[in-house]
Amino acid sequence: MTTADLLRANLLSPYVLAFGLGLLARLVKSDLALPKDIYTGLSIYLLFALGLKGGVELSQAPLGEIALPAVATIALGVVTPLVAYAVLRRLGRMRPVDAAAIAAHYGSVSAVTFIAAQTFVRSVGESPEPYLATLLALLESPGIAVGLGLGLLAVRGADRPVGGVMREVFTGRTMLLLVGGLAVGALTGKSGYEPIAPFYEGLFRGALTLFLLEMGLLAAERLADLRKVGGFLVAFGVAIPVIHGALGAWAGTVAGLSVGGAAVLGAMAASASYIAAPPAVRMTLPEANPTYYLTASLAITFPFNLVAGIPLYFWFAGLFAR
């Protein structure tokens, strides 16, 4: 497939189109809104399904095989927020606390971007390593910790509930469902998973489509803030995922992942958190402007990754594999 074919295949997928429909709905001021409880329910379903499936696969993977990719993932979780911070401070001349808050988001990961990437590479005929969901769980917290650490250096002296906040990240619903699902899946194994598989696999892509419709609505709500955050942050929201995506795809290739697996790791590194990171940052670094980090991660980077980033990281992974 050529790059243009990949882009076209991605653009015409129901996921990207549903996201576009959500954007459109808000732009034409439609009254469409997904009830909050359904949104929460869908995200619980998607994360638990991800964990379960990953756990079943994990129970069959030799532990040695996952060691290198796991090390690469944690290294990405530490390096990407530092890169983001340096760019924001040096090129963007942002305040240290704002730069740290944004870095925490770009160091962490978006589970929906991961799912979209996995779905995409499968649709172009790749079979990414089944244990990638484990890497997703590993990538969520290091970036947040590094970002908060950078921020605390900037506002030193003030008393901050960092321990409590990091505990909330570890016990938050994303981590609990993902790690809990991995454990349940690994313990039940294939035979235990089979009876519940129709619910978690048959409906998965449909639920993802509906979830992306809501993501479109959420992103559109923040579009008005694009003017407030300025040109630099918009450029950052597109450029940094490309850098992190290349870094992730390269690290994945070096760690021995297949082209599909390295592409998904690239997408993970390129993505910015918008569920786990915002409350943690708001609690620890309240001086940082939330409009910056929420708009960058939700209205710029997420749509960019979904539409153009994922096929691009797949192309990177193909280059690195040669």
């Binding site: 959420l218 923040r222 915002p278 409350p279 708001r282 609690m283 309240p286 409009t291 929420l294």
Partner: protein, 100 residues
């Protein structure tokens, strides 16, 4: 039934503060609290469009001295960086002895 004159402290805040505010109220000595979810807009913008989640409205009926301590605590810890407003009203409460 005789009513006692007490204070009603109302704190409207962004959602991430919920656990901390409730913990603070208890440690300051409030005997109870009521929480409702809210929507609104203020000088820091629409709460609903920042960190996801509805705003919160915490209400506590208490004695005048404790009401003052609560407001002072909120002002010191949360006014500088968070979207919070707080006010105190004098209210006539039935079974007032429960809240002192």
């Amino acid at each position: 039934m005789a009513a006692t004159s007490l204070r009603l402290v109302t704190i409207v805040a962004e959602p991430v503060l919920e656990p901390r505010l409730v913990r603070d109220l208890k440690s300051l000595g409030a005997s109870g609290w009521t929480l409702t979810e809210t929507r609104g807009e203020g000088s820091r913008g629409m709460r609903a469009s920042d960190v996801p989640g509805a705003g919160i409205r915490l209400e506590v009926v208490t004695s005048a001295p404790l009401a003052e301590r609560i407001v002072a605590h909120v002002a010191e810890h949360y006014f500088p960086n968070y979207a919070v407003i707080a006010w105190v009203a004098t209210v006539d409460v039935l079974r007032g002895e429960k809240y002192v």
